[in-house]
Amino acid sequence: MQFVQVRSRAEALAALAEWGDDAQVLAGGTDIMLQCRRGQVAPGRLLHIEPLDELRRVEPAQPGARTSIGSLATHRQLSTHDSLRTCQPALAAASGMVGGWQTQSVGTLGGNIANASPAADCVAPLLVAEAQVTLASHDGERHMDLRDFMVGRRQTALQPHELITAIDMEPLPAGVGESYVKVGRRGAMDVAIVGIAARIGIDEGTVSLARVAMCSMGPVPLRVPGAEAALLESTLQAEDLDAAAEALVAAADPIDDARASARYRIRIVRGLLERAVDQCRMAS
């Protein structure tokens, strides 16, 4: 395994064009180094892109504009970014829940997406913000909705010669609340047993905007239109939350693993959804 460090975006794209599948892109390494150690991946080359400061920028939304985040922005950078905490609060919160400080120091937003874990904390908030990814290659750039990019468990639409360079998100409209909540064995820092992101707008007591996404409830984190329909135009009574939770469970395909049983995951969805909605309500 050869370790190759690149110092510019152009150098990275040229290397990917030449080596394709034989190169594994490496940023903070919190997933890849672990997978190498466990023998789950054995690339010919590790392409270390962490020094590319040009991919680290965070551009919080100007009024009416989308938030743009470079793929190498670290979780620590996002969770402590004052204006991001205001304009994209669910993503900032989720970034602060990806492992401990050590993981957040080097773990990146692009890595969290590329790794395509069913439990990726940042993905649920990105889905409720209708995020798009920018994929660059030596041929140019293409943009794709994140929900189409996530193909399956540990599978994405990324081509071997492509690099995720940026993620952009719809701004949070005024008066709309947003949250990300999760249950993990070691509190917030552990891999999510279940995570839920919500964006809820309330107009004179009635829900005018409802977006809900969940992770760790199937092979990919996903939006659940049935749950959103159950909340939209409701007054968030207990039976509305019951109906939304039922839709989440119907859309889920949870597994039994070392962290929790599928039964337990299903059991906690209703309570976690209520927490997510309450946080939105307080913030809206």
């Binding site: 903070g28 180094m33 672990l34 150690r37 270390h48 401990g100 400080w101 050590q102 993981t103 080097v106």
Partner: protein, 158 residues
């Protein structure tokens, strides 16, 4: 075949040129090439924080961080907290005074994470200290004495 290359970095203030396999975890390089064995081998999966070192001031699990990635950067380990003039740093002394060291295995990692915290927040509140320690596991102290030690160190530094 693993090819050795030269990685230039600063370790505890001293410039180093390391002839290493750049894919090797920094933890192994520190312990086996530089004999800095204060950094402990714990879970080797980035879960327990026993191997925490500071890279450009940020705590990182050195067990899953490649050595090649520290090229041109500054690494600090627990050995860097003390010097010839002061056998123990302020925080280290506070750990001893407050019973924050029991078996001691997690201690170097705790000290490094907390050193990073005190550099950005010299007077951290107890809940901030607890949050900062999310990635460090201690199975002896229950953390309370650790938190008291940080509060004491922050107070005496004032």
């Amino acid at each position: 075949m693993e090819v050795e290359v030269t990685v230039r970095c600063t370790v505890n203030g001293a410039a180093r040129e390391l002839e290493v396999n750049p894919s090797a975890p920094l933890l192994n390089t520190l312990r086996e090439d530089l004999y800095l064995t204060g950094t402990k081998v714990g879970c080797e999966e980035g879960e327990c924080g026993a191997c925490t070192v500071l890279i450009d001031g940020q705590p990182v699990d050195s067990c899953i961080y490649p050595t090649g990635a520290v090229e041109g950067r500054e690494v600090r380990t627990v050995e860097g907290l003390s010097g010839p003039d002061a056998p123990l740093g302020l925080l280290q002394q506070a750990f001893l005074d407050n019973g924050a060291v029991q078996c001691g295995f997690c201690t170097p990692g705790l000290l490094m994470t907390l050193t990073a915290l005190l550099e950005v927040d010299p007077q951290p509140a107890p809940d901030v200290i607890r949050r900062a320690l999310d990635g460090n596991i201690c199975r002896c102290t229950g953390y309370q004495q650790v938190i008291e030690a940080v509060v004491a160190a922050a107070g005496s530094a004032r």
